[in-house]
């Protein structure tokens, strides 16, 4: 209020009438911002200029008939009729220039639409339109003229830009304390922290409000953090702080996905159709992460990108493009109706220039390490043609193995992380076809001829709630049975006598769990009861088959292991109103620390690239762990000593400060004694009495304490 009054007073003084001032009409001299920094430093200048011309919604239609004045209106009418079908023409948006001398039209016209999308659409649809034999429309965007006119006649070799040494993008891996990073989003802020378990708190690395407009994502090896904006996506990274490394223009980008070797970034945008009967439009771009160059873009209606499965999936399922395993980022595949399109990244075109025709295929899945694609085709013809699961080698497109399955209702494929095994969960109809039961088909990829083994649960009718492979291991865990107390079973692909047979290790009865989270190093698993189970956590050691700890993170919605398997984060995100925040646990279920944040949206550990140590070396370290861990234990102790020292110091300071206040209050109270007595009509003031009381209490208390201790010690 006060500020407004001041402005009014000042303007009255100066004789300015605010109602007559149009702020937009004030033109500042170009290049002078009067010291006022623009807020949108991050605005993409190059894209901005594109929109700024404001001619994006104008098209130029050429090769029109040249008509005299009399026929002008007729031609105009014809054009309006054609183009009104393709979009909404702005009022007075059609302008056909006329030769001032001859009064004849010049054979072209300009049409302005309401939106650039409509203009684009009209251009695409009407280019080449045959009005009659001699008049075939040539339609161009108005903006293109400008752009194309400015192309130089002579080709100039692009200037080689001087080499600027880049930052060490993997510096975070060289952290002396070998800590891991995590990113969280809460409220408007996105923050990156070190998980400093020794200090029992996160150490801030970088914080930025409004860093992203939807979500953030780490690249698979942890090098980049990608943020999403209206104009496109951007990746951040660097040695010390997060600097912007590259931007990828894709307006209104909704989803992003990295290739596993983080060489390519796929961005996705879909637009709701103006006509609800049409499918929504999808645009997907593939960028080279480092150069920022767009390698290929795919446009089309959502139908082409969704799976034509029996469910009739609406919209595209993300990720549309599945990347083949391994770090070479060589192939990516797209599933659409009756076809699988496999592209290779050298030329960004289809392998053998054609897609694979597989009738009714509904699901595909890459091996995480090899270029092997597994695919599932459901039953057809009312059971006449069996369902099948097949493994296909890429790029040869040779079918390595196939299995026909009968009376199948659904299939789910789970690859083990090192590509050794593939588990296919098969839901089959019972004889009556009224209900289903589940079993597993287990493929051993690395063995000769890829043997398949069938596994059924002890109780065939158990519903399977969750399934998870041990990362890099040979075991898997299954939650099966009925809610609310299902069983959890562990199986191994190896048996002591026979390495080629699957065997059950143990079944834990009646667990409050509905999700499985293996440690990335295997061996440990968290049986979690999320959502309906209010965040029950059981930390389980599968080697020893024993529970290490049980805990609860009330209402927990998300669980994520750090990439080293040392710590695990549980979080309550803003799907709940209360207790938003996250908790860090050690791998064996000790609570390390807890952070509360209102409006908590996301938590993600920064992934690490795979270790360079050979398997033998790792084994050797595991064997001599004592030797290696000594150094770290000593460090741990130093830190904890330091911490307790700091803590003592802090407490002492706080106590001292408090004592000062108490002293001050006491003396003031004493000073005011007489006045208070006055106020109480001369009643002997409470001070002595109070003090007496306080002393009495303290006295009594002290005796209690000392006596007990003396007795105990004797």
């Amino acid at each position: 209020m006060a500020a407004v009054v001041d402005i009014d007073a000042l303007s009255a003084q100066l004789g300015v009438n605010w109602s007559e001032v149009n702020l937009d009409s004030i033109q500042l001299p170009p290049g002078n911002n009067f010291g006022i920094e623009s807020d949108d430093e991050a605005v993409y200048h190059d894209d901005q200029s594109e929109f700024d011309t404001g001619f994006g919604n104008i098209i130029v239609v050429d090769h029109l008939p040249v008509v005299p004045k009399e026929k002008f209106e007729k031609l105009e009418g014809v054009l309006k009729k054609i183009y009104n079908q393709l979009g909404v023409i702005k009022e007075n948006g059609l302008w056909m220039p006329v030769d001032p001398d001859t009064k004849m039209t010049l054979g072209y016209c300009f049409i302005e639409f309401n939106t650039p999308q409509e203009a684009q659409n009209a251009k695409e649809k009407s280019h080449g339109y045959k009005l009659d034999k001699t008049h075939i429309f040539a339609v161009n965007m108005f903006d293109d003229f400008d752009r194309l006119m400015n192309v130089r006649e002579e080709w100039e070799p692009p200037q080689a830009r001087p080499y600027v040494p880049g930052e060490n993008l993997q510096k975070w891996l060289t952290d002396e304390k070998a800590r891991d990073q995590l990113v969280i989003r809460s409220g408007p802020d996105t923050e990156v922290y070190w998980n400093d378990a020794r200090q029992k708190k996160p150490e801030p690395v970088h914080k930025r409000p409004y860093w992203t407009e939807s979500y953030v994502q780490w690249s698979p090896l942890g090098t980049y953090l990608v943020t999403l904006h209206k104009q496109g996506a951007a990746v951040w990274g660097g040695a010390d702080t997060f600097t912007r490394l590259m931007r990828y223009q894709h307006s209104m980008v909704k989803l992003v996905d990295f290739s596993p070797g983080e060489r390519y970034l796929v961005t996705y945008h879909s637009q709701e159709p103006s006509n609800p009967r049409d499918a929504s439009k999808v645009e997907i771009k593939v960028f080279d992460v480092r150069t920022g160059r767009m390698m290929r873009d795919f446009k089309g209606s959502a139908d082409e990108f969704s799976i034509g499965g029996p469910g009739g999936v609406a919209g595209a399922s993300w990720p549309v493009f599945r990347w083949a395993g391994g770090k070479d980022d060589k192939y990516f595949a797209k599933l659409s109706k009756n076809t699988i399109s496999v592209y290779e990244t050298e030329t960004f075109s289809l392998i053998d220039k054609k897609s694979m025709k597989v009738d009714n295929v509904v699901d595909i899945c890459w091996s995480p390490t090899d270029s092997i694609l597994s695919l599932f085709v459901p039953e057809q013809g009312g059971g006449n043609q069996p369902a099948k699961v097949a493994l296909v080698q890429i790029p040869s497109k040779v079918e390595l193995r196939q299995k026909n399955l009968f009376s199948v209702s659904d299939c789910k494929m789970y690859w083990q992380s090192s590509g050794e095994y593939l588990a296919v969960k098969v839901d089959r109809y019972t004889k009556t076809k009224k209900s289903t039961y589940s079993g597993f088909e287990l493929f051993r990829i690395k063995e000769r001829d890829i043997p398949i083994e069938v596994l059924e649960l002890d109780n065939k009718n158990d519903k399977i709630i969750a399934f998870a492979w041990e990362p890099k291991g040979h075991r898997f865990a299954v939650i099966h049975g009925d809610q609310p107390r299902p069983d959890v079973s562990f199986y191994s692909m190896k048996t002591a006598q026979n390495t080629g047979r699957v065997s059950k290790l143990a079944t834990l009865k009646a667990k409050q769990a509905n999700a499985l989270f293996w440690s990335p190093t295997g061996k440990y698993i968290i049986l979690a009861g999320l959502k309906g189970f209010n965040g029950q956590l059981e930390f389980f050691n599968v080697d020893e088959l024993e529970t290490m700890a049980t805990a609860e993170h009330f209402m927990a919605t998300d669980i994520e292991w750090d990439p080293t398997g040392r710590y695990v984060a549980t979080a309550v995100t803003s799907v709940h109103e209360m207790e938003n925040g996250f908790t860090i646990w050690s791998f064996n279920g000790n609570l390390v620390y807890r952070i509360l944040k209102d409006h908590f949206f996301q938590l993600a550990w920064r992934p690490r690239p795979p270790s360079f140590l050979t398997a033998e070396k790792e084994e050797e370290i595991a064997k001599n762990l004592k030797k290696y861990s000594k150094k770290y234990e000593a460090e741990d102790q130093d830190v904890s000593l330091l911490l307790s020292e700091q803590d003592r110091e802090k407490r002492r300071a706080l106590k001292e400060e408090w004592e000062k206040w108490v002293m001050q209050w006491k003396s003031l109270h004493e000073e005011e004694k007489l006045e208070r007595q006055d106020l109480r009509d001369g009643e002997v003031s409470d001070v002595e009495e109070d003090e007496y009381e306080a002393k009495e209490v303290e006295f009594e208390d002290l005796i209690d304490v000392t006596e007990e201790i003396v007795q105990e010690s004797m």
Binding site: M578, W658, L679
Partner: protein, 328 residues
Amino acid sequence: MTPILMKGHERPLTFLRYNRDGDLLFSCAKDHTPTLWLAHNGERLGTYRGHNGAVSCCDVSRDSSRLITGSADQTAKLWDVKSGKQLFTFNFGSSARSVDFSVGDHLAVITTDHFMGVSSAIHVKRIAEDPQDQVGDSVLVLQSPDGKKKINRAVWGPLNQTIVSGGEDTVIRIWDTETGKLLKQSDVEVGHKEAITSLCKAADDSHFLTGSHDKTAKLWDMRSLTLIKSYTTVVPVNAVAMSPLLNHVVLGGGQDASAVTTTDHRAGKFEAKFYDTILEEEIGGVKGHFGPINALAFNPDGKSFSSGGEDGYVRLHHFDSNYFNIKI
């Protein structure tokens, strides 16, 4: 520590108050009858009948002879503690929200809500020695700058020279009782971010504690209004109390009463949370209520405390001996 459950109210509790000797406990609730209990065993001694609306606050004189209550029936009433008789009724144009006797019990400060164009205000009344001489006139009326916000609590400062008030506008104000001038107000930076729900002062009037919906409680110097400590919890704070014996503060609260029925009982956090006054660290909690805690009070001897909840119960806790030996 087994609490004594006192079920005497039919509606949510609003306020609890011990007398100076610590043998009597007065409770106010949204039902219309303030109730008197024996503080050591929870026996109900009697009720004060006469109000026609929710009773939001009460105070008892130093000699435990007079009780003053403020109610939503737009009155504040003076009672004879022993007989339960009404001695006098102060009429206002709106609900009386908080009441407090001054040092010497010759004055009382009463806050009233805004209602039908009447803005919220702080009234100072003279309390006569003999109820026959009692008059209803205000000695002083203070208007809060934002009359559309409730003043949830106003208490006397040291030597009755000041009045400290806090309410929905999140600002703590210190007023001069002589001139009626605003002397100080809390800094926006360090102050509460949401409505102040409760205010509790130390026995020697040197400092006071405020609780707020912003999930914090703050300890202030009563003379200079400097922020000394801040205690952060996970739920809105409805009630605060300070131990007269140990360096402990207690915060009570819980999620909004309207959301209770839709969530798990553990989500509510209807705990009385104990904090170390100096270190600002949580020591422990006392569970039990199945609704938010609306009122907290420490016995002046510091050996027991009681809490009143939205659930209509008063829970009286006598500390176990190990409470007095807590080390953190």
